[in-house]
Symmetry: C2
Subunit: 202 residues, 2 copies
């Protein structure tokens, strides 16, 4: 696609540099901005620049934060005795979405992956150990994806955390709600039978 | 979806205000920008603001332009005796993409639509008539979508242009290249038989 305007060309390239946006979609977005007032584009640009300039890592849990500590760590109503360890911010958001967890988080910033050259030293594990020095935290929930790297990370964490005397737990695994048994993978289905739970009638 | 950061919230809202981008995609784009340097977001924002501030309408053809006249009108190599009338910039770009047209354009800025309250006075028709006052233009090609509004506009234009003595033409219609006859709509197929062309062997 060629454009008869360098300004348009550059704006299209800007949008098309984002993941999942091709040049046709980029053009559609640019033409959309052209239909709106100039102030719309300014506000759009400002929202992104302010976000990128202002965003920080929470000094406690490494979540995204506007201040020194994130809104979750600063929230007095949350249960400070529970810490949920997650791989990244996306997983943290997914758990927040469920509305089922009212404790705090700890964002590792990845998982141990020798292939990708990520060792324990590259993750926020020391900071987690420091957080657990006091006796405020009672339980650490490891909400890490059940991949090979995730399992390695869980194993490593468990070895590091066990001496500290906090309760360790991992998220439950099994067949999804609404999931068809015949479509569940063998490993999940197998584990869900081994790790069966007592049936509590409604 | 709720975020523990107002800055993220606003950036997600900004992306999600664009057509075809939902909040999940918007979040993905924001997290992508967070992974890049601050300068990436600045350059992205600058490209959009510069475009929106700097873009103009070509004073000759109403195409998007960086200067007073667009690159197409300013290009001395293009055939100034041919003017292709299009509804909007998107159609102009589509024709440019084909690489089959080396004349100039005239962007109407819409089609006549009584239902939507668009009359001939709302379109760049007077400016077109003015362009045709000299004797530089030999032929006007009406490349307007074959909708009811499009046909109305073509009819209106033909009535206005015929007295000026320029040759009038409309883009060819028929079955698409690679199109299956059985899937062509009746009107198109019917017209393609009535308006059949002599076969020229290869």
């Amino acid at each position: 696609m060629t454009f008869s305007s360098k300004l348009i060309e550059k704006a299209v390239e800007a949008f098309a540099s984002l993941p999942g946006i091709g040049r046709k979609t980029a053009l559609r977005l640019v033409l959309h901005l052209l239909k709106q007032d100039k102030s719309t584009t300014e506000q759009f640009a400002n929202a992104l620049v302010s976000m990128r300039e202002g965003i920080r890592e929470c000094r406690i849990c490494f979540n995204l934060a506007d201040e020194e500590t994130c809104q979750i760590c600063a929230d007095k109503r949350r249960d400070r005795s529970l810490v949920c360890v997650v791989e990244n911010i996306r997983d943290l958001m997914a758990i927040e979405e469920t509305g089922q967890f009212r404790g705090l988080y700890h964002v590792l910033g990845g998982v141990i992956s020798p292939i990708e050259g990520v060792g324990p030293g590259d993750l926020n594990i020391d900071a987690l150990l420091e957080r657990l020095q006091g006796d405020e935290v009672r339980e650490v929930i490891m909400a890490i994806s059940p991949t090979i790297e995730g399992e390695t990370t869980i194993y490593y964490l468990s070895k590091k955390l066990q001496p500290l005397g906090v309760q360790l737990s991992a998220i439950a695994r099994g067949v999804s709600f609404g999931g068809d048994l015949e479509y569940a993978d063998e490993l999940t289905l197998g584990r869900s039978i081994v790790a069966r739970v007592p049936y509590i009638g409604q």
